[in-house]
């Protein structure tokens, strides 16, 4: 999951430096787009804890993201935004509690059953916000954005400064999430998740209650999605049912596959590339979904390991060890491609 060489670490550091420098060189519109890309990256990172690390393909992950944004809306009084230090923990907690309930039920199933159940529970939340008056119903609602205040001091920002400040808040959160996940995945807990991904039955046979580990991963992933959802509320100051809908979850899955699901930086790369692609597609063709659909087809058909899976010849052996697919399976796949 982590870079295996010094070169890889240097690449990461360089990537972080480039992201940090972006607001210095681009127009405000692109700063805001960058913030959106960071939010997407956090959502993809959080989902990858389930998909790439534990082998759980969930289609309801957007629910926790959207729920966190709605939580900010629900706790914020109309006239003035609350401090970020209040809204963030509350939103993350709400997402975590929802993930606990949904996970406890859906993890009783496996495989495609799990996928369908997570999707259905996610849609249940969608209907809740869509069909009732909570959060303005189908049209959504504006909210007073969380303020950047600390111990009574409020950071006063001009209209021009604010997007840049929010971009950096997003960047800091994303880097923290990356680092936290990197540590988590190297720990005993992370290794157990890896074991479950590779061979869950055997993990049970050697004494793991895999249900509990999967549930823990599901809750952590839900809370991290909550961080992303909270960031959305901070960034846009608007919520609508689309945030909870399953297209969001499917897009996050696509970003993961786009970037390569066997690395930790893959989802970030995928989210940035996908956001950029959507922007270009919208500008050029006005038919964003068409381009997205074709790109997904292309990736699924031709790049099964994503952007970060495009390796030089000779790297395949190490890649194989890292991806964990046994050679036989891989052979079958390439045969099918041919």
């Amino acid at each position: 999951m982590l870079p295996e060489s010094k070169l890889g670490w240097m690449g990461l550091a360089l990537g972080a430096a480039v992201l940090a420098a972006v607001p210095l060189f681009v127009r405000p519109y692109y700063v805001e787009l960058g913030t959106y890309a960071l939010i997407a990256a956090m959502l993809a990172l959080s989902l990858n804890l389930l998909v790439g690390c534990t082998g759980l393909v969930s289609l309801g992950h957007g629910a926790f993201y959207g729920l966190a944004a709605y939580t900010v809306y629900l706790i914020t009084p109309e006239e003035h935004g609350l401090s970020l230090l209040v809204t963030l923990p509350v939103a993350v907690l709400a997402a975590g509690v929802a993930a606990l309930v949904v996970g406890a039920l859906s993890l009783r199933t496996r495989g495609f059953f799990f996928l369908m159940v997570t999707l259905a529970f996610g849609q249940m939340l969608f209907f809740l916000f869509h069909d009732t008056k909570i959060g303005g119903g189908a049209d959504g609602a504006f909210l007073a954005r969380p303020t950047l205040s600390l111990l009574g001091f409020e950071l006063e920002l001009t209209r021009r400064q604010r997007p840049v400040a929010i971009y950096y808040i997003g960047l800091v959160q994303m880097v923290a999430m990356y680092a936290g996940l990197a540590l988590l995945l190297r720990s005993l807990f992370g290794r157990v998740l890896e074991g479950i991904r590779v061979n869950e039955n055997r993990m049970q046979a050697i004494g793991y209650n895999t249900y509990r580990y999967k549930l823990a991963a599901f809750v952590i992933a839900g809370m991290l999605a909550g961080v992303a959802g909270h960031m959305w509320a901070l960034h846009r100051g608007f919520v609508n049912p689309e945030l909870v809908g399953w297209h969001r979850s499917a897009e996050a899955l696509l970003m993961i596959l786009f970037g390569g699901l066997n690395t930790l930086h893959g989802p970030i790369l995928g989210a940035l590339a996908f956001t950029g692609l959507g922007e270009v597609a919208q500008l050029l063709t006005e038919r964003k979904l068409l381009v997205e659909g074709l790109v997904i087809l292309f990736v699924v058909l031709l790049l099964p390991n994503g952007l970060s899976g495009m390796r030089l010849p000779g790297g395949w052996k190490r890649g194989l060890a890292a991806t964990g697919r046994p050679p036989a399976e891989r052979g079958a796949e390439s045969l099918r491609h041919g």
Binding site: R191, Q204, A205, I206, N209, T210
Partner: protein, 256 residues
């Protein structure tokens, strides 16, 4: 030793254990005892219910009748992971490992399962968990699988994977070992080494062995149970079983 067998309380015992699949009884009315320090072999023709018996004891299947007791405590129907935690370890007939992980990591995961996970160590790199790594190395040494710790275990030879199976089972520090055809696919030389290991292990564990190689079974077993059609046909010490006319007719045939 016949006297000592009767005198000591069994470590693991079943009484009238049964398992139905649909209307079919794969195992019925099986009552056996495993004692500490004893190698108990279960033999029988294919389809006699031996593997189902192991699956019942290891928690992979829940019994539909009867009891399983460990130290006199009823543990029937506990899930597999809890059986392992209670001290019942098993190896699989077909090699069943985390094939993309390294050899050492497979065994370390097994050691870690029983040791538990403390929340304070949630962010400590697994490679720095020295106690577990040492425990894993010790198990690998014991089964004679050294020098390949860092290899992905999907790349091991068949015989080495069988050894790894045993090492993973041992890493959970079980009191009862359920070995489902551990010799399958091993060469004669490996089989020889394995026999020594098995005799060694039998001193500290209660072992239930399922094996088709009759020469091997008669050489190592302290006690034998013969199963036919899901139920116990005969049991006793190897010489008595070998001489049993019913067993001769039903299973051993001309072999003994």
């Amino acid at each position: 030793m016949a006297e000592s067998r009767a005198a000591s309380a069994p470590l693991l015992s079943t009484s009238a254990l049964g398992r139905n699949f649909g209307g079919l009884a794969a195992v019925r009315d099986v009552s056996i005892c495993l004692h500490q320090g004893e190698l108990h072999a279960v033999i029988g023709p294919n389809g006699a219910g031996k593997s189902t018996l192991v699956n019942l004891l290891s928690g992979h299947l829940a019994p539909t009748a009867g009891l399983i007791q460990l130290d006199g405590r009823d543990i029937s129907g506990e899930p597999a992971w809890r059986m392992t935690r209670l001290g019942i370890g098993r190896s699989f007939q077909r090699t069943n490992v985390m094939s993309s992980l390294s050899v050492l990591e497979n065994v370390r995961l097994a050691a870690q399962a029983v040791a538990g996970l403390r929340l304070s160590r949630l962010f400590t790199p697994a490679a720095r968990e020295n106690v577990l790594v040492e425990a894993a190395r010790h198990c690998l040494e014991r089964v004679g699988l050294m020098g390949v710790e860092d290899r992905p275990c999907g790349l091991l030879s068949h015989g080495e994977q069988r050894q790894l199976e045993i090492a993973m089972t041992l890493a959970a520090r079980p009191r009862v070992l359920l070995l489902d055809e551990p010799l399958a696919g091993m060469g004669p030389e490996e089989g020889e080494r394995f026999m020594h290991l098995l005799k060694d292990l039998a001193r500290e564990h209660a072992i239930l062995l399922i094996e088709h190689d009759m020469d091997f079974v008669f050489a190592v077993a302290d006690w034998m149970t013969v199963m036919v059609d899901g139920t116990v046909l005969a049991e006793g010490r190897p010489p008595a079983v070998r001489a049993n006319a019913e067993v001769q007719r039903a299973y051993l045939g001309g072999h003994a």
